[in-house]
């Protein structure tokens, strides 16, 4: 039985967060009234001329440099096709000389995914298909809104370095984080400002050459992306195991039936007749511009994760969550203020999803210190933290106000002995090796102490009593 490997490369279209469109001064905005941001250039009226938006170039360079790409001299081409979403009958894009080439995106688990290119192009208008239940092939007619026509996009093309649906989703999440960190795009898949197409193929695990791929479109969420990759890989493997071949084609993901359907084959692929756009001159960002853009980049997710992992020694997954929440600076500052590294990360990962509110760096540090010193249990620390987030204050004072005083070891030992004495049957089971009963005893002691006991200490005391012969 052949063991198969899934190979995925992604093409992600990202709308840039500029004020205006790529080649005209119309507003770039989502959700405006239809056809209110239009002018002769984006309507393709005769005699109009495009002029490149400096802001879009700058954001494209920010993204490219953040992805470790080389910024190259670049050209614009016309990609010719007849479709009402582009009134000019061509889309201006970059073809054989894109602005950004040859980068890498490092995922949260350390996987490095090659970036082939990240080029500039203009978005198309938005078509709504009327009749036939909105299905394009059965539509009676279509309605077009040109507000989106000419909005600047960067298309980020990865190398076929991804090996699973999960990795593909992680790639999209990471790219989104970079887009947001650089300010290049708001990267909202649900608003279409980030759109993903997937090139998917399969091959026997010991093969080094790539199988025939299919390009899957209409992936409107990372969930759709993952489902489509799993479906498409299964479909291709079934074909190959039945002795058939995979046909290179473009396929459409149907979210409702959970399958991909053929749109067009390689033979039917569009012949776009690319040629250099004569109305635009070459784009050659000089060293000074590139350097100033590079220097203005904020700390990016991958180096931030490395910094946090080194400082706290925490696990990869926890570090990724804390950086994704933007809490790494707080954790590092609290660590420098004497906080306990592991507890800072645990709280940032689990207890601060709703934001830090009124929590200060010093209070956060002091709280984890109290916890590490045994003055607060994990459960109590959570409650104190919630109060610090809601209303601020000093953790020791908050803990006192909540009635949390560290139980003296003797009092706890008495409570444990009482619980054992009151439950002889359960204790017999514990001694017989039924470890599940220890949870019952911890619960009894917690009730007796109104939650002030430290569960780990109770468990340890139970063990001591057992070792002492019951």
């Amino acid at each position: 039985m052949t063991e198969w490997e899934t190979v995925v490369g992604l093409e992600v279209h990202c709308e840039l967060a500029t004020a205006t469109k790529l080649f005209c001064a119309c507003r770039n905005a989502f959700g405006d009234e239809p056809n209110t941001n239009i002018c002769p250039v984006c309507l393709g009226l005769p005699g109009s001329l495009p002029v490149l938006n400096r802001g879009a170039v700058e954001l494209a360079m920010r993204l490219g440099l953040a992805l470790g790409c080389t910024v190259e001299p670049s050209l614009f081409h016309r990609k010719n096709y007849f479709y009402p979403d582009m009134p000019k009958d061509y889309q201006v894009s970059q073809y054989d000389q894109p602005i950004n080439v040859d980068g890498v995106l490092e995922l949260a688990d350390g996987t490095r995914v090659g970036i082939e290119r990240a080029h500039l192009e203009e978005d198309t208008g938005k078509s709504t298909h009327v009749g036939g239940g909105g299905r394009i092939h059965e539509a009676d007619h279509s309605l077009v809104d040109y507000n989106r026509a000419g909005v600047p996009l960067v298309e980020v093309v990865s190398r076929p370095d991804l090996r699973s649906a999960e990795a593909a989703r992680a790639y999209v999440n990471e790219l989104r984080a970079v887009l947001v960190a650089t300010g290049a795009s708001d990267a909202r898949m649900e608003e279409g400002s980030m759109r993903v197409d997937a090139n998917i193929s399969v091959r026997p695990v010991d093969f080094s050459t790539l199988g025939t791929r299919c390009e899957v479109k209409n992936l409107n969420s990372t969930r759709s992306l993952g489902r489509a990759i799993d479906y498409e890989a299964r479909r291709q493997i079934a074909l190959l195991e039945a002795g058939e071949q995979v046909t290179q084609q473009t396929r459409h993901w149907d979210e409702a039936d959970g399958r991909t359907h053929p749109l067009r084959s390689k033979e039917e692929a569009y012949d776009y007749r690319y040629f250099p756009e004569p109305d635009l001159v070459p784009l050659v960002p000089g060293d000074a511009w590139r350097t100033s853009v590079a220097e203005s980049l904020p700390p990016l997710p991958a180096p931030r994760r490395r910094r946090l992992a080194e400082a706290t020694g925490s696990a990869t997954a926890a570090v990724a969550v804390v950086v994704e929440r933007g809490l790494d600076d707080l954790v590092l500052a609290a660590l420098a203020a004497g906080g306990d590294a592991q507890r800072l990360v645990v709280h940032a990962e689990h207890d601060l999803a709703g934001g830090v509110g009124a929590l200060t760096t010093d209070a956060f540090a002091a709280l984890t210190r109290m916890e590490a010193d045994g003055a607060l249990t994990a459960t109590q620390a959570k409650a104190v933290l919630a109060e610090l987030v809601a209303n601020g204050g000093d953790p020791a004072a908050v803990a006192a106000a909540l009635g949390y005083e560290a139980m003296a070891g003797d009092a706890l030992a008495v409570a444990v002995d009482d619980a054992i004495a009151a439950n002889p049957d359960a204790w017999a089971r514990y001694l017989a090796g039924d470890t599940k009963v220890s949870g019952f005893f911890v619960g009894q002691v917690m009730r007796a102490t109104k939650g002030q006991a430290d569960g780990r200490v109770v468990t340890a005391l139970l063990g001591q009593r057992a070792d002492a012969g019951g």
Binding site: C24, I38, Y83, V281
Partner: protein
């Protein structure tokens, strides 16, 4: 004249440009386009070793504008010029297949 372009090539290009040509036009344009390509071949014959490729006839790069919004066209004026309108949008015949 060498076979610079075939009748099938011309039919293919015409199809891409959504042009419907008669048989007589196909013949005529095949001859004419071959002549255009012959002219390009004259340029090809020049020795261009040592000449850097250019992407544009103008000796210019980086013609840019600032990212500042300026008013465009009034929707009512634009839609009044459209052949068909519905819900403030351009109404177009059904289309088959998606382009990109």
């Amino acid at each position: 004249m060498a076979e610079r372009i075939t009748r099938d090539d011309v039919a293919h290009v015409a199809g891409l440009a959504r042009l419907e040509l008669t048989d007589e036009e196909l013949e005529r344009f095949t001859v004419q386009l071959a002549a255009v390509l012959d002219h390009a071949a004259d340029v090809e014959a020049l020795d261009t070793a040592g000449v850097a490729p250019t992407a544009h006839p103008l000796p210019l790069v980086n013609v840019l504008r600032d990212d500042v919004v300026r008013p465009g066209l009034d929707r009512d004026v634009v839609l009044a010029a459209a052949p068909s309108v519905e819900d403030d949008r351009f109404r177009v015949p059904p289309v088959l297949g998606e382009p990109s």
